[in-house]
Amino acid sequence: MLVTLVSWLVGLAAAYLAVGLVFAVAFVTRGAGRVDPVAAHGTWGFRLAILPGCAALWPLLARRWARGERAPVERTPHRDAAGPAEGAP
């Protein structure tokens, strides 16, 4: 019973990471520059460095890439109180 359950969960995690790895290769070569313009000129060392994180957080990045969104502005008590920044979308 325990072995079946854990086998299932390990398989699920492996599938998630396998999809993530395929996505990450595409993202670091093409998508990163769309989501974050600074990344468009990133070195190959940089692309390799963010690859594991892209494989782990791929649903977030995939959604942003698909919707053409950029990184949001951080939320702090002062920014919330001040309202939207000048020139913000």
Binding site: V38, A39, G42, F46, A55, E74, H78, A82
Partner: protein
Amino acid sequence: MGLEYRAVGWNRQKKLYDLTLAAAVAVYLAAFVGVGLALKPNATAETLLIRAFGTAAFALLHVILSIGPLCRLSPRFLPLLYNRRHLGVTMFFLGLAHAALSIVQFHLFGDVNPLVSVFTSNAHYGDVADFPFQPLGLAALVVLFLMAATSHDFWLHNLTAPTWKALHMGVYVAYGLLVMHVALGALQAERSPLYVVLVGAGLAWVLGLHLYAAGREAARDRAGVGPAAGEEVGDGFVDVCAVDEIPDARARVVCAAGERVAIYRYGGRLAAVSSVCQHQNGPLGEGRVIDGCITCPWHGYQYVPETGESPPPFTERVPTFPVRVRDGRVQLDPRPRPAGRPAGSCSVKGAP
């Protein structure tokens, strides 16, 4: 943010930091294996390496966890904070080596998937003394992986600093899991009181330091100004302090609008900005004015005092606050202006 992402933005300080770290780790591993072989000649190389990597990772985690609160208590520790992410990534790789060797040694040659075996080879989940401690270590490693994998500035920018910081507070979960991994694992077999004292002292040190620093920070946050806390002096402004209480090129930090505000004095003028650096939410108010810019004490990110904006070509910007001087007293309007709509500055003599 920088103008271009690299794997590591090397500079002299980072190289020195990483060389020291690499040397310390190498010396520790060599000493552990050498002393281990001398004291226990029957121990196999695999066992010694598993223990060397595991203890190195656990000890390094204590160092990492000490840096944050120590920096809150004294700026002397700031050089350790500068490149703390490299300590974290190193710690993850030490833990990974420990886990990989352990899984090869104890789980690889059976007929069950080794990762499944970690969770199922010992199923005494209801027993304290015989509790399966290995899953605790693996869970901690997953948390540490998420943190190491998102340690690049790309993630800081794309997750935003508050979310990134919240994610990286997972280190406390990892620490708790690892303390129990050690207590239910190694300490069940190794009977020397020395190990109990070492782990217990580490636990007391980490918890004591964090609780003390958290208490001090909470007290600073409670001492706020604003319509509720400070004395309102008209036009929505509140009294803060005498002009002379702020040294040149330094800031007075007060709490207003739910967060800390840094009121900087520089070359005969005053300006107030949100004391939260956009890079990693470092304490801007504890920095200095260098080359005309407020400079964050953590990683040196800079902002023009009047505008709260990083000098071109950089694009960071923080909210600002109107500030004025009346009868030698500094007065602050505690309503923040949005980033990009500067509140400006005033002369210390009271003129605009």
